[in-house]
């Protein structure tokens, strides 16, 4: 196999030395499309960051409604933590997407694309396992300040809370490990140069 690879390389070099380059390129016309594959994603992510900051601001503004009783305060802190987490994910995505530039070296773009994939996977899991269940199960605790009574659903709430308590650390551990590996790879590329 190794010899064959070398043979192919030699063939290619020989071909390149024989084939003369042509002058001009009459068939070329400037492309008229306005978006490339990454443009849409970039647009979405650029708006993802201000959007998540806005959500965090709204949650923070609701603080006075929840500080006067301990259960409400606990639920409020959990929701605030979720909003902060969303901002952190959005910041990481914002940084990664800036590096997905086809004019940069292939290894660097590839490392950030891997990071991006991990972030998107984490975001999906975070929404499915944490954001949705926590939002649902904290409903009963969020109700009273607005004059609603959801406490008849308390067992439902307890089950979801237990699920979240198990799934959150598992997800967090997996993603932290992946990020460490990717950071090491990116750092390696930087230090090599």
């Amino acid at each position: 196999m190794e010899d064959l690879l070398d043979q192919l390389r030699s063939d290619s070099l020989a071909r390149q030395s024989q084939s003369p380059s042509t002058e001009g390129h009459p068939s070329f016309k400037a492309p008229a499309r306005s978006q490339s594959a990454y443009d849409h994603l970039r647009w979405r992510l650029n708006w993802g960051l201000p959007g998540s900051i806005a959500i965090l601001a709204v949650v923070a503004a609701l603080a006075p409604l929840y500080v006067h009783r301990l259960p409400y305060l606990i639920s409020y802190i959990v929701v605030l933590a979720i909003a902060v987490m969303r901002v952190m994910i959005a910041v990481q995505m914002f940084i990664a997407i800036r590096h997905l530039d086809p004019t940069r070296p292939v290894a660097e773009v590839s490392a950030y694309a891997d990071r991006m994939t991990l972030l998107q996977r984490f975001n999906r899991r975070y929404t499915l396992y944490i954001k949705l269940p926590v939002t649902v199960c904290l409903g009963p605790l969020f109700g009273p300040p607005f004059g609603l009574d959801f406490f008849s659903l308390r067992w439902f709430v307890i089950v979801w809370l237990v699920l979240c308590a198990v799934l959150l650390p598992l997800n967090a551990w997996g993603i932290i490990r992946s990020f460490r590996r990717l950071d090491a790879a990116i750092e390696n590329i930087r230090s090599e140069n």
């Binding site: 690879l5 290619s12 499309r33 004019t103 140069n193």
Partner: protein, 158 residues
């Protein structure tokens, strides 16, 4: 880069773009056209970002490989049933594809896309300096990775 410069460079390195498209299309002629079109679009779109930090050829390599790999990432779910074989062989060499060569390309298709990019550059006759500049790693690292890839290919064959 002016439009005239762009067209002149495109004429010079068109073969390079075609061979990237063929390599990453896995024998699918429609995908090959899509990749070529996307590479061309990105080259045109980012032509003003060329700042001379590498040669024009390496810049074409960078944009071409990054575009092809990003399209492959998007299109990962498509089953890779047709390995790159005859077309790439015919493109890179004048001799017709033989079974050993077909086997080699089948094995290359099993490698991660980053490694395929290195093999592509190697087969295409890029020097270690060129590979280092395109990939953004050192010459030493290029040598190490090539050595590892060759070992991987050997293991895959056995």
């Amino acid at each position: 880069m002016t439009e005239a410069d762009f067209i002149a460079n495109l004429a010079q390195y068109e073969r390079l773009l075609h061979s990237i498209s063929v390599t990453f299309a896995r024998g699918d002629t429609d995908a090959e056209k899509d990749i070529y079109q996307e590479i061309l679009y990105n080259l045109w779109r980012y032509r003003d970002r060329y700042n001379g930090d590498c040669s024009i050829k390496n810049w074409f390599y960078r944009v071409g490989l990054n575009t092809a790999i990003s399209l492959w990432r998007k299109d990962k779910k498509r089953p890779a049933t047709t390995p790159i074989t005859d077309e790439l062989s015919d493109h890179l060499a004048d001799t017709p594809a033989d079974p050993l060569r077909r086997e080699l390309y089948r094995l290359i298709d099993l490698l991660p896309k980053d490694d395929q990019a290195i093999v592509y550059l190697y087969i295409d006759g890029a020097s270690e300096e060129e590979m280092a500049s395109v990939l953004g790693i050192t010459k030493t690292n290029v040598g190490v990775r090539l050595h590892r890839i060759k070992n991987k290919l050997k293991k895959l064959k056995n």
